[in-house]
């Protein structure tokens, strides 16, 4: 249940990004990028966020999540492919090591404030 820690970090990052001169700021949307391989459960994150945003400018904030695909590159033949299942073996080089190009992201790309 590391979603609570992620929710706390999200709030901190968002609060730090609010312009200092803004009066009564209200954050409506957080735009996130979450990799398919990252262990983040959206429902749990929303639940935790509801708790940690209470009485903050983020109370009632909505999450918009862009899912980032798992992309693998074979270190032997440089073939790159998108993995839909946890089978990360190169179809051509079997036991060759692979590099994870994307799929582990837990990132905040932007936030939208009420006018």
């Amino acid at each position: 249940m590391h979603e609570m820690g992620i929710a706390e970090q999200l709030v901190q990052i968002a609060l730090d990004a609010i312009p200092e001169d803004m009066e009564n700021p209200r954050v409506e949307i957080l735009n996130l990028r979450i990799g398919k391989l990252a262990s983040v459960v959206e429902h749990s994150l929303t639940f935790c966020l509801e708790i940690v945003t209470k009485d903050t400018p983020l109370e009632g904030v909505r999450l918009v999540i862009e899912e980032v695909p798992i992309v693998i590159r074979c270190q032997s033949c440089s073939r790159e492919w998108e993995a839909d299942t946890p089978m990360f073996k190169c179809p051509d080089c079997s036991d060759a090591k692979v590099t994870l190009i994307s799929g582990r992201e837990i990132e905040i790309s932007s936030m939208e404030l009420a006018d």
Binding site: M1, H2, M4, G5, I6, Q9, L10, Q12, I13, A14, A17, I18, P19, L32, L37, A38, S39, T85, P86, M87, F88, K89, C90, S94, D95, A96, K97, V98, L100, R104, E105, I106, E107, I108, S109, S110, M111, E112, L113, D115
Partner: protein, 221 residues
């Protein structure tokens, strides 16, 4: 109004982990993060591993659990320097974060160690997300679990540098398909070494110990 941010949410932990890594390099100690589900036999594997590595390799252990010092008490008997982290003091976290490791490693003292092993909290999900500044990660799976665990928890097996398949002494009594379990691990992480061992009977330990000795030697020069 949209404000562009572009930040990794776990950046704070990553910064702490890098700080740990630099400190461990200065202390000339190799750090292994050991992870698994609860009950896979991490502590027993470590007890036997320490018994075989020491005194040639000077070992310290940081043990993570939500509650109790039971594992630390068991490891203390080996003569290694051991310290326990109980996360119930920090909200009952299911993983060890980098700042907890910093506090414990400094308390333990690493100047007289070659190898520091962090026995992470039993959990195949959360610890995989949190860099603690380690040099390598090992994951333990036991034959009393499912062969498909690597497929269910792919991140854990993808980020591990080595895997242990433990409790192989029980194979004659179980329907567990060991070759399939190893194949699943290799599908998730091609090229990863997998050591089939029994912490109880000490069968299969030599390749695992040799891997660990080589890693420590590589770091210490």
């Amino acid at each position: 109004m949209e404000i562009n941010i572009q930040k990794r949410v776990l950046q704070k932990n990553e910064t702490e982990a890098d700080k740990n890594r630099n400190w461990f390099r200065d202390q000339k100690v190799f750090v292994l993060n050991m992870m698994s589900s609860p009950g896979s036999g991490k502590t027993e594997t470590l007890c036997k591993t320490l018994g075989k590595l020491m005194p040639e390799i000077r070992v310290g252990v940081i043990v993570g659990d939500v509650c109790t010092t039971n594992d630390a008490d068991r490891l203390q008997v080996t003569g290694a320097k051991v310290t326990q982290i109980n996360t119930d003091q920090f909200g009952g976290d299911c993983h060890l974060a980098a700042h907890l490791i910093e506090d414990s490693a400094r308390k333990l003292g690493c100047e007289d160690l070659d190898l520091l092993i962090v026995e992470n909290i039993g959990n195949l999900v959360c610890p995989a997300e949190f860099d603690i500044g380690e040099d390598a990660r090992a994951v333990v799976l036991s034959v009393t679990e499912g062969e498909d665990k690597p497929l269910k928890y792919p991140l854990m097996f993808q980020v591990a540098d080595a895997a242990i398949l433990n409790k192989i002494d029980l194979l004659p009594y179980l329907d567990f398909d060991a070759p399939l379990a190893v194949e699943n691990m290799k599908n998730v992480h091609p090229g990863m070494p997998v050591f089939e061992i029994s912490a109880k009977t000490e069968e299969g330990f030599e390749p695992w110990l040799s891997w660990l000795r080589t890693k420590v030697k590589e770091k210490l020069g």
